[in-house]
């Protein structure tokens, strides 16, 4: 276990509680029709909090689509995360100083962006590192292979983190690959691969910290496999009970990373019930404020679908936009 002082450990706990709170809220919003399809992160908070804490201020985050936790920790305002999943492109338009890519929906396609950003940082002599996430399922895509292979060839300043939640929608890991671990895939690229218990936030932090420092020193990329579990459905459009055994879910609910960290904090005397109450209150207030901020966003103008297509709008698009504006006005 790395030497984290108690306040940072409490920060980790706080981060995870915040995640759980906003994830729960998103599911509620979705049921109320105020949110689009939402991919829950419940159960995967330790991976996201642990990696986020290991990242330096200027490091880039390249998420897949189930990284709201780490995105928020890296500075993406929660109300924008909500806006994105509610169907508003402005949700990916956070401020320039947040070094974070937008959500990548095509599974696996972000691995190469991670390699590209890692090469970019190396070429520009930037001290920062690119941290790229993806799921266990995404390791089957050709882009995973290419991204890691190229990162290896170029000594890209990239850390690849697999959130192995053991399912890709309905497909369990053993139908995804015959390899015993995902970490061992690193071997194919001549780079280090490490498997960690993704529900142990300290283990995640330690592995991420080591990998990030290695990349920062210019010693090349690392693959981290964080073994965790998706406690929720794949998305709000999914019903996991169709393909997943109740017992398996129950077993993993017992391994909830938040409970686990709380137990640790309590055992170490770093946490008492009062603090929990305050924290929960704070979390809910923050989430409510963010929902308010979401709902206070002025509606997106219909013509916004045109305005960011190109740096300069070509004539045919202006015409089309004009026709839409007239239609909406009439």
């Amino acid at each position: 276990m790395p030497e984290l002082d108690p306040s940072r450990v409490r920060d980790l706990y706080r981060d995870m509680i915040m995640m759980r709170a906003f994830d729960d809220k998103a599911l509620k919003l979705q049921r109320q029709g105020r949110m689009g399809t939402w991919p829950p992160i419940k159960g995967q908070e330790a991976v996201q909090a642990g990696v986020a804490m290991a990242m330096g201020e200027d490091d880039w985050l390249i998420p897949a689509f189930r990284e709201h936790g780490v995105m928020v920790l890296r500075g993406v305002p929660l109300h924008l995360v909500y806006a994105y999943w509610a169907g508003d492109e402005r949700g990916s338009s956070y401020s320039e100083d947040v070094r974070c890519f937008p959500v990548a929906v095509p599974v696996g396609s972000q691995w190469q962006h991670g390699a590209g950003v890692g090469l970019s940082l190396k070429l520009s002599g930037d001290d920062a590192v690119a941290v790229t996430f993806g799921g266990d399922g995404s390791t089957s895509e050709g882009d995973f292979h290419e991204g890691l292979n190229c990162a290896g060839v170029f000594d890209a300043r990239t850390v690849f983190v697999i959130q192995n939640n053991q399912w890709a929608i309905s497909v369990p890991l053993h139908q995804q690959t015959r390899a015993e671990t995902l970490a061992q895939k690193a071997h194919a690229y001549g780079i280090p691969g490490i498997q960690v218990d993704g529900n142990d936030v300290f283990a995640v932090y330690a592995a991420a910290d080591e990998a990030i420092q290695r990349a920062r020193r210019g010693e090349g990329p690392t693959l981290i496999e964080a073994v965790t579990y998706r406690l929720g459905d794949h998305t709000t459009a999914d019903d996991a009970s169709r393909y997943r055994a109740e017992e398996e879910l129950k077993e993993w609910e017992g391994k909830d990373p938040i409970l686990r960290l709380r137990r640790y904090l309590e055992q170490k005397g770093l946490w008492v019930e009062d603090q929990e109450v305050v924290l929960q209150e704070e979390a809910h207030k923050w989430v409510d404020d963010q929902v308010k901020a979401l709902e206070e966003m002025p509606p997106q103008a219909p013509e916004e679908m045109f305005t960011s297509m190109y740096a300069e709008m070509p004539p045919h698009l202006s015409e089309q936009m004009q026709s839409l504006v007239e239609e909406v006005r009439s």
């Binding site: 689509f65 508003d88 095509p106 696996g108 309905s170 997106q300 916004e304 089309q320 239609e327």
Partner: protein
């Protein structure tokens, strides 16, 4: 084998359906029904794709097939579209008839190399020695407010590259009959399913197996004043628009192309020659959409009979918007009516 009875959308039967046992099915159910019956008929038919097995497909189009046929014939694939198609090429060239599912059309891109580079070329490349009788099913199109990449309507992608057939049903009857024909076809067929109306309505569909021939358009509504040309979910929109216009004594004919390649030029041109006016409707962006080919063929074959330029009602030349702006992107009844008006008052 031909369709025992064709109908337009919901309840608009154009001619009597012969007396056969029927079931009320949605498009999604009709698709499943076709696969099930073909798998029973021919043990070489396989289904493969992401989540098609235990989960029964994210739209339930393969629901229950794995229980019925086992995991050797209903194959949950690793998350790898290029392999879904690439392995299908290997399977098809050696005797199987894979029916591959791409979960959403927006995720077909990783498989383009296998589709364009091999599936479409194997027969020609080997002068007929090896072939690729396979179907690629893809839910397509907008209207369901999903995340990015889940609303693509990119039929044009597959129409300038020869070697595929491209089939898009607009109703449960055709979904079953066309998919049956597609599975029996000796060449690769891209079968695009309008997810927006997957479960929007039910229709009586013959319970037995039947094929609707590929390459034949269908007059979904007869009319005399203008021809609306569409496919997939846009056919229903055209029929709706036609109803609205009927109140204003505009009598629109609706041509449901059903197959984009090979195109049934004859039916389409005949209709345009009759009405003298045409509007083509598609969800895809305007520029270089398949609408352009339709307009061009009309101009090549019926220019002198045209009373007005053919109009296009299409998506805009922008990325398909997320939920908030979706309704502003998609063709609407109003836009179709306005386009018809402009051909009438040219």
């Amino acid at each position: 084998m031909s369709a025992p009875g064709s109908q337009g959308a919901e309840g608009r039967a154009l001619h009597a359906v012969p007396e056969v046992a029927t079931e009320k099915l949605t498009i999604a159910q009709a698709v499943r029904d076709a696969m099930l019956l073909e798998m029973e008929r021919d043990e070489k038919v396989l289904v493969l794709g992401e989540d098609v097995g235990v989960d029964g497909g994210v739209f339930r189009a393969t629901d229950g097939l794995i229980e019925r046929f086992g995991s050797d014939r209903v194959i949950d694939m690793p998350l790898a579209e290029s392999s879904i198609i690439g392995m299908s090429v290997g399977l098809a060239a050696t005797g199987f008839r894979p029916v591959a599912e791409i979960q959403f059309m927006g995720f077909v891109y990783p498989a383009i190399n296998q589709l364009f580079g091999h599936a479409a070329r194997m027969r020609n490349r080997t002068r007929g020695r090896l072939t690729c009788p396979m179907v690629v099913r893809m839910p397509y199109g907008g209207g369901i407010h999903p995340p990015e990449h889940h609303s693509e309507s990119y039929e044009a992608l597959f129409l300038n590259t020869p070697g595929f057939k491209v089939v898009i049903p607009s109703n449960p009857h055709d979904a079953k009959g066309l998919l049956t024909a597609a599975i029996r076809d000796e060449d690769p067929v891209l079968f695009m399913e309008p997810k927006r109306i997957y479960r929007a309505f039910r229709e009586a569909v013959p319970a037995d197996s039947f094929a609707v021939p590929i390459g034949k358009a269908h007059i979904a509504r007869t009319g005399t004043d203008v021809t609306l040309i569409a496919w997939g979910s846009m056919v229903r929109l055209c029929l709706d628009a036609a109803e609205v216009m009927a109140r204003e004594a505009i009598d629109a004919e609706v041509v449901d192309l059903r197959t984009l390649n090979p195109l049934d030029r004859e039916t389409m041109i005949e209709s345009v020659v009759k009405t003298g006016r045409a509007v083509v409707v598609h969800e895809a962006p305007r520029t270089a959409g398949f609408g352009a080919e339709i307009v061009t063929q009309i101009n090549e074959h019926a220019l002198l009979q045209l009373e007005a330029p053919v109009q296009r009602v299409t998506g805009f030349d922008v990325i398909f918007p997320l939920a908030h702006n979706e309704k502003h992107y998609l063709p609407s009844r109003e836009r179709i009516v306005a386009a018809v008006q402009s051909t009438l008052h040219f």
